[in-house]
Amino acid sequence: MTPALAQLLIGHVVLGLLGITLFVIVTVGLMRDLLRISLIKWSAFFGFVSFVASWITGGYYYATYYGKAVKPVIKAGAYPWAHNFVMEAKEHVFLVLPFLAATVWLVLWLLGGSLETAPGLKRAALLLSWTIVVLGVAITLSGMVISGAVIPK
């Protein structure tokens, strides 16, 4: 792995974790009766940006390196299902995340001021934010399972 690819991998992981952290702030923020709209809408914005950046860095690493250098090692190793199931699921489930994040950000940006008096809308935004956090954590753990299966002989 070249230093540039190592940095892309690190960037992918760190940006993903940052995105999840920011959406935890959004989720916890939406659980309150009194909303700190400025905090949660900016958290949602930067969370969305983080996921997009994680998408790009991970995507470049995946498209240029993973297929030819990492996948064969996993498939030949003790845990081939780490690619056959976990990676395949992860790379496609991830596709849902940026659109969920963008939608939550837009709800907060456009309608944040009225959420305190619109419990149905607030609840819908909260459920979506929860979904982002749960999927984000699952995707992160999947990444560990996949990378952990890279055991060169």
Partner: protein, 107 residues
């Protein structure tokens, strides 16, 4: 306010369509190798193709839906977000279920 509510509704529906597209093209590409090949040839990698097309569908359909003359409402916005929530989980379950089957039972 109605414009904002309509914008939220439009982007929520756009996200639904992008998510449904993502799972549909994923499963289709696995079952129809020529589709996967076309994605790889057109976008340098099949996954990049799925990403780009899903993003295009999200932005494109959201704008189209927003442009269609109709009044926005808080209730419509809420229903769209609720639909996005449920459909996202169906999409995730479908992706996981499909690859679970492919990895352990298909061959």
């Amino acid at each position: 306010m109605e414009h904002r509510q309509k914008a939220v509704q439009s982007f929520a529906i756009g996200a639904v369509l992008a998510a449904v597209f993502a799972v549909a093209v994923t499963i289709a590409a696995e079952l129809m190798p020529p589709l996967k090949t076309w994605l790889a040839d057109t976008f340098t990698h099949h996954w990049i193709g799925k990403s780009v097309l899903a993003a295009a569908i999200y932005v494109g359909t959201s704008i189209i839906i927003f442009a269609v003359p109709s009044a926005g409402s808080q209730e419509q916005a809420r229903k769209s977000l609720a639909a996005l929530f449920w459909i996202s989980w169906v999409v995730v379950a479908a992706i996981i279920g499909f690859f679970l089957y492919e990895a352990f039972w298909a061959y």
